[in-house]
Amino acid sequence: MSRYSRKERRLEAAEEAAHWLFTLQSEVASRTERAEFIDWLRESPLHVAELLRACRLQRDLSAFSKWHEIQAYDQEDNSVVRLLSVVNRQRTRAAVVRSFLGRHVVLATVGGLAIAALCAGVAMRLGQTVISTQWGERREVTLADGSIVDLAPNSDVRVRLQAKRRLVSLDRGEALFHVAKNPNRPFIVSAENTRVRAVGTAFDVARRAGGVAVTVVEGRVSVTTQTSLAVGLKAGRAETPIRLSLGANQQVVVFSSTGDATPVRQVQGEAEVAWATDQLDFDNESVAEVAGRFNLYNHTQIRVWDQTLAARRVSGSFKATDPESFVAFIKSVAGVTIMRQGDDVILLGTPPKGASAPPTHQR
């Protein structure tokens, strides 16, 4: 038996022991319960030892005198019990249906209770909130500390609110964080090799192909990287972790392969995170990229067949949930053929003969 599994076994036994201790102390234990207890106790000296430890712990807790210094559920924590306020902005009926049938609409909460009752298939992980979105779906979630996470489509974050810090892991996609100010409890977002630390501010972290983009809308954050040894060796140099400070309207991209970062550049922070208000702003981006962004938010998918058109650069501001407005815009500026396949696919340009599958434009 490995050391790890023995430890697991002990913890399990500790929980069982506590359970039996409470059962016996309630003094309404049925004969069946008492029989189960005795059988459990006679199974292993480990069980006896854990029962002894549970007894001791109970005594230690009774003797503990500083309960007044233990933080009670405050207003902040209460929101956890009352449920996280979840605004689920789903635009198309198809997306709603998909999300209910979907495997991974996952919302667990710290100590997670009520949410479990609400949706089936909830992944309950102790002390961790998991928020996921699928295609065409965006979520705004208010965390127990008052911070707000806007999650872009096709994204996953895990949140752990601890006493001394708030930890968020962006496992996929992109998220905008409006951090509730608390200097004693830094808000730390990690994505791949990048860590972004804030106290109270608004910033966006996006995992893109090749790297992690950090954009600050308000306030200031510090960005650090952890370069893996393998990467350092591959690059033929000692690893040099990046540590930089980003202010409002600044952006940096950290490359996952090297751990290097682009120079900090000035951006329009609000525009960069306009997606969170269902606004898509494009500044000199290819039609293919733009189509990909729209496709993330909508069940209706845009396929660009015309390669010249796909590479063409456009700028503009659109409602993310209104791909038709973009199609109308393209039609007016480029004069391309617009075709439709059913209700869900809009083709820009004419497919060549014999083409079986249209190209997709997805992030």
Partner: protein, 181 residues
């Protein structure tokens, strides 16, 4: 925590005290003692009739405790020039050392309790800090009995894993009164 509901918790201390005298005498480490006791109890449990144990589990545990307790006490007094009580008194006296140990134990408990997930922490606090019963807590927090019990059991397991036994062991005083046997 008063009255009969705490009697099982006392059980442990009935074991601990004579054993501790014995181990103090031998200057053995504290780490092995629970395992030693557990082994002893386990073997005795196997000797009793299962259905007797089921009928009166607590009574039998006390009986075993009393027996082992007496044996440990006998062994420890045989090996000591003075009365076994002498060492117990020494341990219990609040010398500066044990006062410091007491502070360390409290700090260690406080650290571990603070690190619990918020709902578990609240349930532990209401139960031990404010003396609420499981039933009271279900009303206070709007949870089911089952959830309260499960959270409390998980909190025990988490504390058991995170507490440094040496710090807690050294510090908390033996209860001076309210001993229920």
């Amino acid at each position: 925590m008063t009255g009969t509901s705490n009697r099982l918790a006392e059980w442990f201390y009935e074991w601990r005290q004579p054993l501790r005298r014995f181990l103090l005498r031998r200057r053995a480490g504290s780490a092995a003692d629970i395992e030693d006791i557990a082994q002893e109890v386990f073997l005795r449990l196997l000797r009793y009739d299962r259905s007797d144990l089921i009928d009166h589990p607590q009574a039998y545990l006390y009986k075993i405790a009393a027996n082992v307790s007496a044996e440990w006490a006998a062994r420890s007094s045989r090996s000591l020039p003075h009365s076994a009580e002498w060492l117990v008194e020494l341990v219990d006296a609040l010398s500066p050392e044990t006062v410091a140990g007491h502070g360390a134990a409290e700090a260690e408990l406080q650290r571990a309790i603070a690190a619990l997930p918020s709902r578990q922490r609240e349930i532990v606090r209401l139960h031990f800090g404010e003396g609420m019963t499981h039933e009271d807590i279900t009303k206070q927090l709007g949870l089911t009995r089952r959830m309260v019990k499960r959270d409390l059991a998980r909190a025990y397991a988490a504390l058991r894993a995170s507490l440094d036994p040496d710090l807690v062991e050294a510090g908390l005083p033996w209860p001076s009164s309210g001993r229920a046997l």
